[in-house]
């Protein structure tokens, strides 16, 4: 696969190779499977980040006749646990020795006749679904109560279910039942031309539209060895930072909602609204959709007036964040809430502002620069406290950095074309990545012999962070739950896909 150094291995050598990567300081980023030919055996791929400026490492393992599975790595590398369960559900691959053998993506009661990602799965046919009892962890003790919260929750929220086991105010255990919103988005890419694939990528998670479309476009461009013009690189950077800006401001407003700081909530959401309106005025879309395409941008943007508009917003945003940091009632609810230790964050695969609040210094924009990030210097905030306050502080710092980055990119914005000719590679593969507002996003794109998309794997930031989140809920109290969830800034659509 272009964009990586790769190695093909037989199934029995995979655990040792992964272990070796980890010992060398690499961190596994994701694993997925695909079917290179219809009716054939699947191939499993493991992606690892070997450190700043190092190429990504890819291990490929083709399952052969007689081997219907792989040894599970989830015990030693816990963050792979969900990826393995996902492969079991969607590709029918079994992992021997998995510590948590229950379905993840497909709910109890969904029994597809053949795995949905198998090319032989009848196109457009919905999985037969019947109500079946939930597969919940057993709990003993007469005082322990169970509360299933969701999937339809209060307010305007995305669908997810959190099952609490609690005594009084104390949460003993929390068991999220997610993937209510699983739409089978990865399958939708199959057979499409990459130009239309961008539209699907934009709709994986609406509030991360640019990040997903950018990672997808970069994967396609890497596969077809296409060099994007300089102006397009800068414009892509500007769009990605505009997206970060409105997301983080909304995040601060929503966090105030959970700590019942009403004016703080109103102001945060108003600032987010003003940013969305700027998006509308300058790009035609409040979610910055319909702009990216493989090879560059669909049309040029006139951003001459944007810098002045951002400068006008800057003091408002700075004043707002300073006021939040001076409000004891707000800080009281955040400090020490939802503590995520460094080691847990690393082992369970935390990403984005979550990991940077738990002392893991890593940001794809700096470590593996894309678009125009390599030409613009920036600072990456880091906190080590690992609590809700640290997570909000990292985002505040990112807002300041985004504004500075935007103003500099607008100043340096070169003239020139915004797109270039691109030929779809036949049978090619490419890796693309992007640091979205919520963390790292990876796209692996496989082409078929006619230049159409054969398989697209989407690793979203929320998939990683939902895996981590319950570790900060166990053994806390009910009162803090909403604050803790808000401090993670998760999306369901990105996680469930």
């Amino acid at each position: 696969m272009r964009g990586t150094t790769e190695r093909a291995l037989p199934p029995n050598e995979v655990p040792q190779a992964c272990q070796h990567l980890v010992e060398k300081g690499a961190r596994l980023q994701m694993a997925y499977a695909w079917f290179p030919e219809s009716g054939g055996h699947p191939e499993v791929l493991y992606l690892a980040d070997q450190g700043p400026y190092q190429p990504f490492s890819l291990l490929r393992c083709r399952l052969s006749e007689g081997s219907d599975g792989l040894p599970s790595l989830a015990t030693n590398i816990p963050l792979l646990g969900w990826y393995e369960r996902e492969m079991t559900d969607l590709c029918g691959i079994s992992f021997q020795g998995h510590p948590e053998l229950r379905p993840l993506v497909l709910h109890e009661g969904a029994h597809p006749p053949i795995p949905p990602l198998d090319p032989r799965y009848p196109k457009g046919e919905m999985i037969p679904y019947t109500e079946e009892p939930w597969d919940l962890p057993p709990v003993e003790g007469s005082d322990v109560q169970m509360l299933p919260f969701g999937p339809v929750r209060g307010d305007v929220l995305e669908s997810a279910q959190i099952v609490f086991y609690y005594v009084g105010e104390a949460i003993l255990h929390c068991h999220p039942r997610l993937f209510f919103k699983h739409r089978g988005m990865e399958k939708r890419f199959e057979g499409l031309s990459p130009a239309l694939g961008t539209l699907i990528a934009e709709r994986i998670s609406g509030v991360d539209s640019v990040a997903h479309a950018l990672a997808f476009c970069q994967a396609v461009e890497t596969a077809s060895q296409c060099e994007v013009p300089e102006r397009a690189r800068y414009l892509r950077t500007i769009l990605a930072e505009l997206e970060r800006l409105y997301n983080h401001l909304h995040y601060l407003g929503h966090l105030c909602h959970t700590t019942t700081l009403k004016v703080g909530e109103a102001q945060g959401k108003l600032l987010a609204e003003q940013c969305k309106q700027l998006n509308g005025v300058f790009t035609g879309s409040r979610f910055l959709r319909g702009l990216l395409k493989p090879g560059g941008l669909r049309r040029d943007l006139d951003l001459r007036a944007l810098a002045a508009r951002l400068r006008a917003l800057e003091p408002d945003i700075a004043g707002y964040m300073a006021a939040l940091e001076n409000t004891n009632s707000h800080l009281d609810r955040l400090i020490t809430t939802g503590h995520l230790p460094h080691q847990t964050a690393f082992d369970q695969g935390a990403t984005g502002p979550i990991k940077r609040a738990s002392g893991i210094q890593h940001d794809l924009r700096c470590d593996h620069p894309y678009a125009a990030y390599g030409r613009l210097s920036m600072e990456i905030p880091l906190r080590t406290e690992g609590d809700a306050h640290a997570r909000s502080q990292v985002r505040m710092e990112e807002i300041r950095n985004s504004l500075a980055l935007l103003l500099r990119a607008l100043e340096d914005l070169p003239e020139g074309p915004v797109d270039t000719e691109i030929a779809w590679p036949t049978g090619g593969e490419g890796l693309g990545w992007c640091e979205g507002p919520r963390g790292s996003i990876y796209y692996c794109v496989h082409f078929d012999a006619t230049g159409k998309l054969a398989r697209v794997k989407v690793k979203s930031a929320s998939f990683s962070n939902w895996r981590v989140f319950p570790f900060t809920v166990h053994d806390t109290n009910m009162m803090d739950y909403a604050i803790n969830e808000a401090s993670f800034g998760l999306t369901m659509a990105g996680c469930d896909r």
Binding site: V152, S209, K269, L270, E273, V281, A323
Partner: protein, 268 residues
Amino acid sequence: MPIWTLYGMKRGIATTLWPGKENAKVQPGVLGLPRFQPDRCQDNCRACAEVCLPGAIGIEAGSGDERLTIDYGKCIGCQLCTESCPNDALTKSEDWAFGVQNREDLVWAEALASKPAQELTKNIQKCFGRSLHIRHVDAGSCNGCESELQALNNPYYNLHRLGIFFTPSPRFADLLLVTGSVTYAMRGPLLETYNAMPEPRWVMAMGTCAVSGGATGGGYSCAHGVEGILPVDIYVPGCPPNPAAMIHALLLLLNRAAQFVQGGHLAK
């Protein structure tokens, strides 16, 4: 805390005058669904249909000639057709007030049949006065619709001023507002929520996914929107519909705004 009260007061009123003052432009620059001018359409050109991912643009074999069919209920506003059309038969527009009571009104029709006024919401004012309580259910959206629904309660749109509220319990709700194309796992919770609502009750399909499935309907885990699962009273296409379009649709349900779209045409 008093600091925050002062902080809020010093910032003054942030709320838009719309829809009270009709001329207040609420969505400057935001592109809506493309506008269709069939007289400019060139024979045997399929450029737009080929780039239409959700199949909103189709080709119908007529007597002799091929004819374009356009279903705005499937349109995701990606603007690819406007970029591919060689003759500007499809152009970018800022048309967003696409809330309708009849699904057919989203399908482009050459001649406008004059339909009788809808009976559906005739008595809604008698029931609720000017107020409305909404229960929202996310049945598998991309969260674009949720983001815009949450924006309704920000100080700019300030939905409360119109007497419209989101309510946590379906027992208090008059309107079930559905987003997303209805995944297999959300179908059950969606029906349960509807069944928990007291009568009379209404259903709104918000966003192209809920109206027709859009770009995400079908496949191994999704239905094609709410239709066929619940009786829909108002359809609002858009990907996502912008907050002003959402407010317009809510007022349309309450007989407090007129329907602008008929047969796929937007009234001037």
